[in-house]
Amino acid sequence: MGRTLLIGRLTARDLRRRPTQAALLLLAITAATAVLTLGLVLHGVTNHPYQQTRGATRGPDVVAQFSGPVTPGPFGPGSPPPGQVKYSPQAIAANARRVRIVASELIHAAGVTGHSGLYPVASAVAQAGRRLAAVVAEGRDQTAAAVDQPKLASGHWVSAGGIVLERTYADALRVRLGDRITLNGRPFRVVGTAVTAASVPMPNMCYSSCDYGLPFGPRGISPRHLGLAWITRAGAQALATPSDPLGYVLNLKLSDPARAQAFVNRYGHQFAQNPATSAAPSLTTWQDIRNVDGLLIRDETAVLSPGAWVASLLAIGTLAVLAGGRMSERIRRVGLLKAVGATPGLVTLALMAENLILALAAASAGLAIGRLAAPLITSPGAGLVGAPGAPSLTLPIAGLVVGVALAVAMAATLWPAIRAARTSTVSALAAPVRRPRRRAGLIRLSRHVPVPLLFGLRLVARRPRRALLSAACIAITMTGVVAVLAFHATADEKLYGGGTGITDPVMARDTQMLLVLTVVLLALSGINAVFTAWATVLDARQAAAVARALGASPEQVTAGVVAAQVLSAIPGVLAGIPLGIALFSVANSGSITTVPPAWWLVLTAFGTLLAVAALTAIPASIGARQPVAGILQSETA
């Protein structure tokens, strides 16, 4: 009890003596744990809204899509570009007959308990104002369907000349009820918006299957700019042309929805074995649709998870710099504690208590912030109804976050604390300044460079481990920033169709996530740079004072500390470039990664070094303006 009280008192006093340091540390660990919490609670968060949507729309268990006369899909090898082959009326009619036969087989297959369709499907280019996108327009009856009756979010169901747009698609086209849009030039009035569980909303509609002759490529429309709309059957038929004949869709309800994949395997295999059946449908299970719906959140998780680890590493670096710097200040306390009988274990605990308490407080704050912020980024999007509900902050997640926070504190402070506790009592009471290291090569080299660089190189040579730590922290930050750049480069290159004016909802959310993450990383890195500079200033206090007594100006000393930090940062910046690209490639699940343009990287590298210099200059110039006489006299005392 007495020991606990003693440790408590010492910790409380330390916290009171250095509230700013404590606050910054709290901020660093809180930021890391909040991002980690967000990443962890996002898993599986879309399941609930999809199920709600499925219930509200009588969602199908299997969706069968039939293309027009061209059997291969739009991305299949050897398929002619859409709209370039004209089919005879006979070929189109023959295909329609074959589709009806296959559909009948499916409707009467074992395990099928209900269906809706066949519905005719026309592929077209939709235009709303100057915005262009591809659309799959499903020809529907005006009466409600037994399976897959889209739930209206606004307006009313299809009518002649009226179109109902899937809600995400309407948002991307930025149209509202009453607006006019054209499909292949034919005008429609938007009479409603709706959601469905039978199709994945934009921008992932083509993710699992997309077997219509769709107008991608021309006019910059990408497969991510494909949306769903409902019009009347007559309207769909009117959109069909000899070069863009109709496809069809059939929705099936099974007696055992859980076995939908088995159904698809059985019939998919059966149709594939019969080459005479040119109307083989593409079968998609509700589970597939649900999983692709989850991509929205999965992308965010893919961003947040590595981001959380990067932020945690930075927090470790910040704490390590601070702990290392403060241990040398506390060495006299070690001597006093040991002189009055404290064991090395108790001394270690006393030295670590403050950081552990701060880590616990930060973990609690991080969990709360992550929990509160999660709903902001887990909204299911416009493509589903319902809310995801509160993200599940389970005991294992809370345990993991607290564990990571404590591990961060332990990793950064345990070794300096043990080293301090092992110091002999007499030496500790004498409170010696930790002897600097000597790197003869760097000192020799420094003789040949201007004074600020001379100081900088010698400061690096004095504390090479701190320089390494600093380089590692910059490398981590740069890794994060370059990963963000790689994301944008890849997104710009692959995902955005130039000039179509369509907002990609997933990209927009990913960009928001990355912006938040970048701000967190830069803030952590900024704190780290200031701490490192301050630790360097404190450590080099006497050396700088002597140098000033010998004629170095405060500006030269400041420039020296800045040079030391920038010199340490250079390898970190260089290492961060390939690491960032590699991190993005890993987070991007091995998909094609576009390396950001060289000028982006060069600009970022110089910007980072400039930021390091600017952040370092503040504590460095404060340190360099301390009165020399006072420092030299205190070192003498």
Binding site: R438, R548, L550, A552, A629
Partner: protein, 248 residues
């Protein structure tokens, strides 16, 4: 003008340094005036806390006075900017501290050449000069040693060599033998005697009467003010050790 009639290298007029205010006001240096002639060795004595070191810091531009005027080689220096003071220390002042203040990670020769490098000397010239100075203080064979491998007296001799690196107008020594044993103190005294003989201007702050006895002039301080001034002959008497009472 000093008593000898020549222009003083260092001159202070009504120099004051105060810390704190009202009830806690401390007059560390209180209305001090002095002039140090070229080649003169001035000793400043007094009990601990009387303001000797503060005066030395003011004279060398390490600290700023609260009032009064200070001239070095005829140039007023108490109003110089930090940068100006730095330049002044670089070219005109050499410091020797009680705690040596050598850089632990630098060898003896690297410590000695540091002021020259700060002053922009070519590395080779700075090294040549440093080696020469180490030879002059009898440490040529210790040039590559780190301070931790040197004795107290040797460290102080390295510090003196460093103070001489830029050929300063004046050397300011603050308790140069404060941390040394008798033998090392004698080494330092001999060194100062050599410098004195060579015409180097020296201001030595000490509370050791044996060191003070080697000066041309002795000023005694108490509570921040000069209370006594004595002209001595010890510094030019030749038998330094005997005068200082350190040789048997």
């Amino acid at each position: 003008m000093n008593e000898d009639g020549g222009a003083p290298v260092l001159r202070a007029q009504g120099l004051r340094k105060q810390f704190g205010s009202s009830d806690t006001l401390v007059r560390a240096v209180d209305d001090v005036s002095l002039a140090v002639a070229e080649g003169e060795t001035l000793a400043v004595m007094g009990p601990s806390g009387c303001g000797k070191s503060t005066l030395l810091h003011l004279l060398g531009g390490l600290d700023r006075p609260s009032g009064g005027e200070l001239y070095l080689a005829g140039q007023r220096i108490d109003q110089l900017s930090e940068r100006g003071l730095a330049r002044l220390r670089r070219r005109a002042v050499g410091f020797v501290f009680q705690a040596f203040h050598l850089m632990d990670e630098l060898t003896a020769v690297e410590n000695v050449e540091l002021p020259a490098l700060l002053a922009g000397a070519a590395p080779r010239a700075a090294r040549r000069r440093a080696a020469g100075l180490l030879e002059q203080v009898g440490l040529a064979d210790r040039a590559g040693f780190l301070p931790s491998a040197l004795s107290g007296g040797q460290r102080q001799r390295v510090a003196v060599a460093r103070a001489l690196a830029n050929d300063p107008l004046v050397i300011l020594a603050d308790e140069p033998a404060g941390n040394l044993d008798s033998e090392a103190t004698l080494d330092v005294l001999r060194l100062f005697d050599t410098l004195h003989t060579a015409g180097q201007t020296l201001v030595v702050v000490t509370h050791d009467s044996r060191i003070a006895a080697t000066a041309d002039r002795l000023i005694t301080m108490r509570d921040g003010a000069f209370v006594d001034e004595t002209r001595l002959t010890g510094g030019s008497g030749g038998s330094l050790g005997a005068l200082a009472g350190l040789e048997g």
